[in-house]
């Protein structure tokens, strides 16, 4: 699978991500698409580590590192200050992990969406608190091992994409690093749609946290889409749904077989997971016209 991306060099090599890191890949596609007329807000996360210790930075745009729960509010503050100075062109982007988005940062995110703040919010979703050593977040899926759910998580993943759609924001999209052309297109689309909060949830498989080889990030990402666990779709104005990539016949068993976080599952567990995925996919499918 080949792809070509016209990119402006904003995210640079020499950063501190693990070899093969999906987040570093996502940052390259996102930041290089956003270009240099942008300001980023990053909370404590692997993203903060990747952006670099003072005085170094892997990102050649201003980056403000905020507190874990405040990304959306911090980004909104920058945007409003720019507006007050008559600057309507600089893109302000918050890039947070799933802990900083689904859990502790959700209140600020929901409020920024309600106020229709003119910012782009990207969640790099690796389904857990990976920077602190793989603990459960509300983005962790059913039955997955984490160090705070050693017997497997007992509840399903929170559906933040649909919750964001329910805010009637101008643009919500799911994306993942295994489909870079799709991710880049969605970032461009988010940039074109001005005047409201644009949310992109990017599934970024964590190699160490999920227990896959260094080379398996993109492949794992594609398996998540192809098995129906993580369909790629976009929604405009809270109502116009478009499916980009859905399941293509692979099963949940194919997906979990490659990841150590699922190695404790019995065949019955896998069946239960398959039923959950089928249910969610049927529900989502009804929304595509």
């Amino acid at each position: 699978m080949g792809y070509e991306i016209q990119e402006e060099k904003v995210f640079n090599s020499g950063h501190a991500a693990c070899p093969g890191c999906s987040e570093a890949l996502a940052l390259r596609f996102i930041l290089n698409t956003l270009g240099k007329d942008a300001i980023a807000v990053v909370p404590p996360s692997c993203i903060a580590i990747i952006s670099g210790p003072q005085p170094l930075s892997s990102m050649s745009i201003p980056v403000y590192q905020t507190t874990l729960e405040a990304s959306a509010a911090s980004a909104a503050g920058i945007k409003r200050a720019l507006i007050s100075k008559g600057n309507n062109h600089t893109n302000v982007v918050a890039i947070a992990g799933d802990g900083g988005t689904y859990d502790i940062g959700f209140q600020a995110l929901s409020a920024a969406a309600e106020r229709n703040e003119d910012i782009i919010y990207v969640c790099l979703d690796n389904e857990g608190y990976m920077n602190t050593g793989t603990q459960k977040s509300s983005a962790t899926p059913s039955m997955a091992f984490t160090t705070s759910t050693p017997a497997g998580k007992l509840s399903p993943k929170k559906n933040v994409p649909e919750i964001m759609v329910a805010h009637n924001i101008p643009y919500m999209a799911t994306a993942t690093t295994g489909y870079p052309d799709d991710l880049v297109r969605k970032v461009k689309k988010a940039m074109e749609i001005k005047g409201g909060l644009r949310f992109i949830n990017v599934l970024t498989p964590c190699l160490a946290g999920w227990g896959v080889p260094d080379s398996a990030g993109p492949k794992t990402s594609r398996l998540a889409v192809q098995s129906g666990i993580y369909p790629l779709y976009e929604v405009e104005n809270g109502e116009t749904y478009t499916l980009n990539y859905g399941p293509n016949g692979l099963s949940v068993a194919d997906y979990v077989a490659t990841q150590k976080r699922y190695r404790h599952l019995s065949p019955e567990d896998v069946e239960l997971l398959q039923a959950e995925v089928n249910h969610d996919w049927e529900k989502l499918q009804k929304k595509f016209k």
């Binding site: 210790p53 590192q65 405040a70 509010a73 909104a76 409003r80 007050s84 100075k85």
Partner: protein, 385 residues
Amino acid sequence: MKTDSNRLLLSGNHAVSHAVRLVKPNVMPVYPITPQTPILELITEFHAAGEMTGEIMTMESEHSAMAAAITASLTGVRVFTATASQGLLLMHEMLHYAAGARAPIVMFNVNRTLGSPWGFWPDQTDSLAQRDTGWIQYYCENGQESHDTTLQAFRVAEQILLPAMVIHEAFYVSHSMEAVEIATQEQVDAYLPEFNPPHRLDPQIGESWGNTVSQVMFQNHRRDMGDAMERVLDVAKKADQELQDLVGRGYGIHEQYRCEGAEFIITTMGSMTGTARDAVDELRAEGVPVGLLKIKLFRPFPVADVREILSGIAKVMVLDRNFAPGTGGILYQELKAALYGLKGAPEIHGYLAGVGGTNISPVNIKDMVHSAIGEKPVAHSVWKG
């Protein structure tokens, strides 16, 4: 009625809103809380009527209000917000963040009791509990002082690059109506230069803020903040004088009332100062050699000035409308620390008076002075009132 008068009958809170209107902040993230709410309400009314421009952000929490205030300030514009009590405590994390980022935000705080249990009464513990956050703190005793000090706070914060908190107490000041002389736009424009910091979040400049630092970088950064705090003492005195030159009203960073020949000095902060002035007048009429020291600038604490003022005084009585369980009155502790090792240091009586908003009358204060004169002080705060 004088037609050229700029004097209005205003609550303490609305006196603050008028100052904010004149200062013209670019960004104002706000969140309601009793008894601060009238400040934000009048600001949004001014904005709706076109008397103010700038961005009003109706946030979902005080935490987010302060988060937005910090980044707006770091983007290089003037920022104001206001809060009280639990709201200030919810901001606590971001207060440290703001000072660390050297963001010259000005915030008004209305002192109100902290839960639990719930109350709505004047008590300074909320803001005094933020004394180590790196914010400049001013305590005001009436609406006029709050109006003028809000103007001063912008002048000082933007010169020093540290955030400033201006404070008055719930209801006794926040909701009491008094005649307040409002500064004119010409005066404020002459007083406050445009805020245009060279370091800011700007793609043309490319500077970032908040990345992880080494131990040494962190230590140096905190030392720089301490140096900046030290400079506040002179800059605040100057800012007070400069405003006085323009509007004819000044306060100093502390005030000595009838301290000439005094052997006994009452020390207060905030609304209790007015009551203490009356008590001093009555005691002086009785022939008691008593004076009053009002602490207005609490952070940085004016240690050198306080040592000079209180050197050679026989007794000091500190009135604390706040309480830190385990240590007592906070102004009492600060004053004891400031006077430690001073030759001819006074005996200090620390009285917890008015905690939770209980009323302290001039008679109460006179009684406290009379009993203190005849007693040796104990080494801890004593409950009164």
